[in-house]
């Protein structure tokens, strides 16, 4: 015996109209997955950064590391390498380019200055080609 399955369709509802709820559901699912998708915080990805290491010994053990003091000298901020005090980043970079890089460099920042001065010293060391740059808080 053949059983006929009558098509149940409300009068006045076209096949195109029947698709609308499905589109709604698909769109809601799309929004749901967009919302629950985990975004990496932009601050962790978009910011170029300077690597800073705290090391002891290692490859620099046979060499005397350079020390850049970032502090107030005669009441003005500057960078001191040995006996020389530099007041700007460009001259510090030029000096560091002339020095041996094997021992690495220590940047020692004073509490009295702002962050930008320490960052300038770190950048100067990197620009001069130092691979091992260590930040040391001032005593």
């Amino acid at each position: 015996m053949k059983i006929a399955h009558p098509r149940t369709r409300r009068p006045g509802v076209s096949p195109a109209d029947a698709l609308i709820p499905m589109i709604d559901v698909v769109f809601l699912l799309l929004v749901y997955f967009l919302q629950t998708h985990t975004y990496n915080p932009p601050e962790s990805e978009l910011t170029p950064a300077l690597d800073v290491e705290r090391v002891a010994g290692g490859i620099g053990a046979d060499y005397q590391p350079l020390v850049i003091e970032v502090a107030l000298f005669e009441g003005r901020p500057g960078f001191r390498v040995g006996q020389h005090v530099h007041r700007d980043q460009a001259s510090l970079t030029a000096l560091l380019e002339e020095l041996p890089r094997q021992g690495g460099v220590f940047v020692q920042g004073s509490d009295a200055l702002s962050v930008s001065w320490a960052a300038a010293a770190l950048q100067a060391a990197r620009d001069a080609g130092f691979e091992r740059v260590t930040y040391v808080p001032a005593e």
């Binding site: 769109f27 919302q35 962790s44 509490d111 702002s114």
Partner: protein, 135 residues
């Protein structure tokens, strides 16, 4: 109409959560950094924001120095257990005092955190003068 209202609710919920994920705006040190923005970088595990006033903010929450050090030390231990180095990014406002960064660095050194990254703003570095008036 119910559909539209529901979609509007979902839309506003979505935009609200995205707003929370927005990073803390800081005036970062105006340096070019080590790597260009087009290169692939390892995402930071912990991002420590330090405002110009010296407040330490992690994931939109303000923490004391001791809390921050303990939090990072705990994450450092977990990373070591997994055999992975801790990716620590410090984002200090460039006009802030170096004392906060120094105190943080001292605490991290005491707890064996040996490396971190200092966030910079390379776009500002191209147009702004560096400390001391150099180029």
């Amino acid at each position: 109409m119910v559909d539209v209202v529901f979609l509007l609710i979902v839309f506003f919920l979505t935009t609200l959560s995205l707003e929370k994920l927005e990073f803390l705006r800081l005036d970062l040190p105006q340096e070019s950094g080590e790597i260009g923005p087009e290169e692939v970088r390892t995402p930071a595990g912990i991002v420590v924001n330090i405002t110009a006033a010296g407040e330490i903010v992690i994931e939109q929450q303000t923490h004391t120095l001791d809390e921050t050090i303990e939090m990072i030390a705990a994450e450092h231990r977990r990373s070591a257990d997994r055999g992975q180095p801790l990716e620590l990014l410090i984002r200090p406002d460039r006009s802030g005092s170096l004392a906060v960064v120094n105190n943080l660095a001292r605490g991290l050194i005491d707890r064996g955190v040996s490396s971190w990254r200092l966030a910079t703003d390379p776009s500002a570095a191209r147009s702004a003068s560096t400390p001391g008036g150099g180029s």
